[in-house]
């Protein structure tokens, strides 16, 4: 096992990794920008290095600075968390060439899965259904129109290097396709420094279901069940739960098999997630993409499986074998996570940075809060506005919803606006209670009230 690990991230997930390392007896080096310097969670790391000014491009995305920090602190491995450099094959490659273990899959696997069009080709080759669409990236307008006519409207325009919902556009006709192409390309260029986009069929009534994979370097690949992440706004997840209430046992088994086939096809190692779209009208499923990192919503899987995914990531990267076989995995009960953002739900979810004057987190049986925030904490304007994640775990979905309602109402934050009131509304909606989830549910709720 490693003796010292650097965490190339901030906030909630940096704290999550610090905690796992402490439990495994691994020394931690946290990095921070000027905006995060002095943050309380950094005190739990054994060492902290300020790597640059507040903007992420010059600190948390600054590869030379992070590698330099790793060198001066003499770490053996870097955990990238999620976001920032977590899916950068360039960063993973530099770690590899600097003899620092990147805690994740190989740079090569990341490069294949990071190119969405290439990932689709791998899926097709392995007999995993994909949505009809362009076979490679779209270069011109004519090209785009041809593909759209072939698969039929509505279609999605997606950034090839995409993630986090950026660079995605739904279009219903030629005119909006032409105008949206330019916007989507510009968005992709800004967000990922790569303007390539591709087009695929848009399924109107669908659920987003993803399968958690763990694979060691000795050829063992297992799944830890699925997560339903259908509740999104602007293609960003708001609430996730496991097991998915939207799919049948048969569909579930099919998704597990497909996910494992996909992971094995690219010699995947470490924790990863294979995302699928399930058509609610005909029950068919389609591979969307594989996320080559830890997911924000990983705690719900931990709650039902009893497996600490961050510790497993560290063990796998250190070369250890998975300590169990697939048949030894049991998934118990229901877990739900709410992502609590410092955003104003009454004003288009506008980020609301500022000082937190009151911060009381819920507790009690079945409640877990992963958060780096405390009373007096100032939410900086530079980064994602997530304050933390509220996770509940109960025997049944009904009990889990009741527990979540109770916990959300105990979660008391003042000084900044949060999504807590919106979450309370969401889980009281009859469609949510009746397990009628779809990717357009939240947008519909916002539009219709």
């Amino acid at each position: 096992m490693f003796s010292r690990v650097l965490i190339a991230n901030r906030g909630e997930i940096a704290l999550r990794v610090i905690r796992a390392c402490r439990e495994l007896g691994i020394e931690t080096v946290a990095v921070c920008s000027k905006a995060d310097e002095g943050a309380q969670y950094l005190e739990l790391a054994d060492n902290t290095v300020c790597i640059g000014p507040s903007p992420a491009e010059q600190s948390y995305l600054n590869v030379p600075s992070i590698i330099s920090a790793a060198e001066i602190t003499d770490v053996e491995a870097i955990h990238p968390g999620y976001g920032f450099l977590a899916e950068s094959s360039h960063f993973a490659e530099i770690c590899e060439s600097s003899n620092i273990t990147f805690i994740g899959p190989s740079a090569k696997t990341m490069m294949v899965m990071g190119d969405k069009a290439e990932a689709k080709r791998v899926a097709i080759k392995n007999k995993i259904p994909v949505l009809a669409g362009s076979e490679s990236t779209i270069t011109g307008q004519q090209d785009a129109l041809e593909v759209a006519h072939k698969v039929g409207y509505p279609v999605l325009i997606k950034a090839a290097a995409g993630g986090g919902g950026r660079g995605i556009r739904i279009v219903h006709n030629d005119a909006s396709l032409v105008s949206s192409m330019a916007i989507a390309q510009r968005e992709a260029e800004t967000a990922f420094k790569d303007p390539s986009v591709y087009i695929e069929k848009f399924i109107e009534h669908s659920c987003h279901v993803e399968v958690q994979i763990l694979a060691d370097q000795h050829g063992n690949t297992i799944h830890l069940g699925e997560r339903d992440c259908s509740l999104q706004r602007r293609h960003q997840k708001l609430l996730e739960e496991t097991p998915s209430p939207s799919i049948s046992q048969h569909q579930r088994t099919e998704l597990y098999k497909a996910a494992i086939r996909m992971a094995k096809a690219v010699n995947y190692t470490n924790a990863g997630t294979v995302e699928f779209l399930v058509d609610k009208d005909n029950g068919k499923y389609y591979f969307i993409e594989m996320n080559t990192r830890l997911q924000v919503e990983h705690p719900i899987t931990e709650m039902v499986s009893g497996i600490d995914l961050v510790k497993e990531q560290l063990r796998i990267s250190a070369g250890e074998q998975l300590g169990y076989k697939q048949r030894q995995i049991t998934l118990d009960g229901v877990a739900i996570e709410c992502r609590i953002y410092a955003e104003d739900p009454d004003n288009g979810f506008r980020p609301h940075p500022g000082k937190i004057t009151v911060y009381n987190v819920p507790g009690g049986n079945g409640v877990r809060v992963d958060s780096h925030v405390h009373q007096g904490y100032v939410v900086p304007p530079y980064y994602d506005s997530m304050l933390g994640k509220l996770i509940v775990h109960q025997g049944t979905r009904q009990e889990a919803i009741a527990c979540l309602r109770r916990a959300l109402s105990e979660y008391h934050v003042e000084g900044v606006k949060t999504t807590i009131p919106f979450h309370l509304r969401l889980i009281d909606h009859p469609n949510y209670i009746n397990s009628d989830l779809s990717t357009t549910f939240v947008e519909g709720l916002l539009a219709g009230g």
């Binding site: 300020c50 640059g52 940075p353 100032v378 530079y382």
Partner: protein, 161 residues
């Protein structure tokens, strides 16, 4: 490795050419793959890997979305501080065993090189950026330094009483 030895001279020439290209075009990384040789290119977009970098240029040249959260200028009393513009290892001299670039009591000009910081095998010369008298060296030779860490205490020429 054999191929590398044979090509060594031409490789060195290429590297020199690349370095002058980097300086001319404000690049921070170059990547070229030729057999076993691999080099990467990256344009400076506010990054820091210039071969010579003014000590206090980085914080000042940044966009300031929220002034309250920007670091204040490194100034304490009548002294100013020269702060590290990068993460790396601090050396008072360019090569081991050489004379330090500056000693306490030296009069510094804006372009006086005060130390070097090694980051990812690149030696970066750090300049004083303002005229003054060196009062104190705040970091031990060979010590790791982080972004924004004070390196030297300086009595500015202008504010000398």
């Amino acid at each position: 490795m054999k191929g590398f030895t044979k090509k060594k001279m031409s490789t060195m020439d290429k590297v020199k050419e690349l370095i002058s290209l980097m300086n001319a075009h404000d690049l921070t990384e170059i990547e070229i793959q030729e057999d076993a040789l691999k080099v990467r290119v990256k344009k400076a977009d506010g990054g820091f890997q210039h071969a010579v970098l003014p000590a206090s240029s980085l914080p000042g040249s940044l966009p300031a979305p929220a002034e309250a959260l920007q670091e204040p200028p490194a100034k304490k009393g009548t002294f100013t501080e020269i702060v590290s513009p990068m993460v790396g290892t601090f050396y008072r001299a360019a090569t081991p065993g050489a004379e330090p670039h500056v000693e306490v009591g030296d009069e510094l000009e804006a372009d006086t090189v005060v130390c070097v910081i090694e980051a990812m095998k690149i030696i970066n010369e750090i300049k004083a950026e303002a005229a003054g008298k060196l009062v104190e060296v705040l970091v031990d030779d060979g010590a790791p330094v982080e972004f924004g860490q004070p390196l030297f205490k300086v009595q500015p020429t202008a504010s000398a009483e």
